[in-house]
């Protein structure tokens, strides 16, 4: 098990830096992961997506796809790519402290 020191906490993470335990997450952890990924500050729009993602995962057990995010999070897909460059679903999951969404096999 790899641990990573972020926001003054020892966090258990996988090989790509996704939290292993969603319960270790809080807003300061989210901000620290975002900075590591090159997002200097999380705006209200970032939070809208990150919280939607996290809540959907905690209630259903799976992370929503990019298409669901675009339809239901309140942020259209195009803006998602501006907020979370290259891979919005993957990056928002990482910042939200939930496992990497499946799909890339």
């Amino acid at each position: 098990v790899t641990t990573m020191l972020l926001a003054n906490k020892d966090l258990e993470v996988d090989a790509e830096g996704f939290l292993k335990d969603a319960a270790q997450w809080d807003e300061s952890v989210a901000e620290a992961i975002a900075r590591e990924a090159g997002i200097a500050a999380l705006t209200e729009r970032h939070w809208l997506v990150v919280k939607f993602m996290r809540e959907r995962f905690l209630s259903t057990g799976t992370a929503p796809s990019i298409r669901t995010l675009g339809k239901e999070s309140g942020v259209p897909i195009k803006e998602l790519y501006q907020l979370f460059p290259k891979g919005p679903a993957k990056l928002a999951a990482k910042i939200g402290g939930i496992p990497k969404p499946k799909g890339c096999i």
Binding site: A15, T62, Y81, I98, K100, G103, C104, I105
Partner: protein
């Protein structure tokens, strides 16, 4: 009396019907077990053959057979669309208003392309300069186009993962290179491979080898490109972050989703319509008497016929145990085994599972070892012979000589530094 209902009579559903019918031969004859297979049409497509249709190697008639020809006679075949599954009632509702009750349900309804999900993809230019090759109609239309196409900029694009047979778009690019070379117009064609992945393929060692092959064949690679919209009139493929790839001919692998009824069945699928499935036991998360295999599941294995074949052996054991009231004994390891056509009569072979990525080396085989991750003539002959194997050994659910259900490390050469793959346990929430 026990009722087993199989939804879907494609590769996975047909293999399961044949295996279960063989396992329960006496019970089926005596009426103690009734196996019912449901499909909405009677056209079984040999899907690996779709790749060869655009280049005239096969015609679409060569890859189609009636579904019933590959199913046992004493299995019921219901031709109907599926409305929904009601897990609480153990009932399947069909679109014609009838219902089927089951003791065990096996979902094998595969995945389908949904080009309408990408803006402009099926608009002006569809099947004129924008084509798919994942349907018999699409691949036949593309064959007609390629026969007279004078050349230009050919863009091969994957809209989003996961897709069926993740190597097929690469094979298409390789075969296009060979096709235009043979026609003497290779210098008039620019082939561009545009993918949402960060490399040619998902797994690091194979990705490196395949990236090298693309370069060798003068195919340009564009990575991390998430297709947002298509303008078929202007000939532009545009990403969500506004990068533009112009094309004279676009060959798209559209978004894939599971069967529509999955989303209408409470708790059965994820938001793409793939059945939420335990990756080892192949049991649906929603209820213990529902199982799923093949392209229909959300397990992190390739959506490929070889996977359906290996899963079917595991699932047969688990269904038998379930009906006998025993704990499920068998666990699927994610084994996948694929030939990759590289053109000019050669092919690669890759063999991998949930935890071990495709590695170079030799694959021990009945007629002599096959080269892993390296082009050879024998691999190509293996791929062509596979059409016969598919109809006569694979669909009937027979063992394939020399290809074990669980992946073996024999002959594989671990590369240094070995890039670690995230084990399956960590990928599950």
């Amino acid at each position: 009396m026990k009722r087993i209902v199989i939804l879907g009579a494609g590769t996975a559903g047909t293999i399961m019907a044949n295996r279960l019918r063989r396992l329960y031969r006496r019970d089926v004859r005596a009426g103690r077990i009734i196996i019912t297979v449901v499909d909405q049409d009677d056209r079984h497509v040999y899907q690996p053959g779709l790749l060869f249709v655009p280049f005239g190697t096969y015609r679409s008639g060569d890859i189609l057979k009636p579904r019933q020809k590959s199913l046992p006679r004493d299995v019921w075949y219901v031709r109907a669309a599926i409305e929904r599954v009601a897990p609480e009632e153990n009932t399947v509702y069909l679109a014609d208003g009838t219902t089927l009750d089951y003791d065990v349900l096996i979902v094998a309804t595969g995945s389908r392309i949904v080009p309408q999900e990408t803006e402009g993809l099926t608009g002006p230019g569809w099947r004129d300069k924008v084509f798919d090759f994942y349907t018999p109609e699409g691949s036949a239309a593309l064959a007609e186009k390629l026969a007279s196409w004078p050349g230009g900029r050919l863009v091969v694009n994957i809209v989003e993962m996961p897709i069926k047979c993740p190597v097929a778009p690469l094979e298409f690019a390789f075969l296009a290179d060979a096709f235009f070379t043979a026609k003497g117009i290779r210098d008039k064609v620019e082939v561009v491979y545009v993918t949402p992945l960060d490399g040619a393929f998902t797994k690091p060692v194979a990705s490196q080898a395949l990236t090298h092959l693309l370069a060798e064949k003068r195919i340009r690679l564009v990575t991390e490109f998430s297709a947002g919209r298509v303008d078929g009139v202007a000939g532009e493929l545009v990403s969500w972050d506004e990068r533009v790839e112009p094309f004279d001919l676009l060959v798209t692998v559209p978004l894939h989703m599971g069967a529509e009824f999955v989303s209408r069945s409470p708790g059965l699928g994820d938001d793409m319509g793939f059945v939420l499935t335990d990756p080892q036991k192949l049991q649906a998360k929603v209820k213990p008497n529902i199982f799923a295999l093949g392209d229909a599941t959300n397990v992190p294995a390739s959506k490929a016929g070889s996977v359906a074949h290996f899963q079917a052996e595991i699932l047969t054991e688990n269904v038998e145990a379930y009906l006998a009231g025993r704990p499920l004994p068998a666990a699927f390891d994610g084994h996948s085994n694929c030939f990759i056509e590289t053109g000019h009569g050669r092919a690669l072979l890759i063999d991998f599972n949930y935890d071990v990525e495709p590695l170079p080396g030799k694959f021990p085989f009945a007629f002599g070892p096959l080269s892993l991750l390296k082009e050879s003539r024998l691999n190509h002959l293996g791929k062509l012979a596979f059409r016969w194997v598919y109809w006569h050994l694979l669909l009937p659910g027979r063992e394939l000589i020399g290809i074990p259900t669980r992946m073996s490390m024999a002959g594989k050469v671990p590369t240094e530094p070995q890039m670690r793959h995230v084990p399956i346990k960590e990928m599950q929430p």
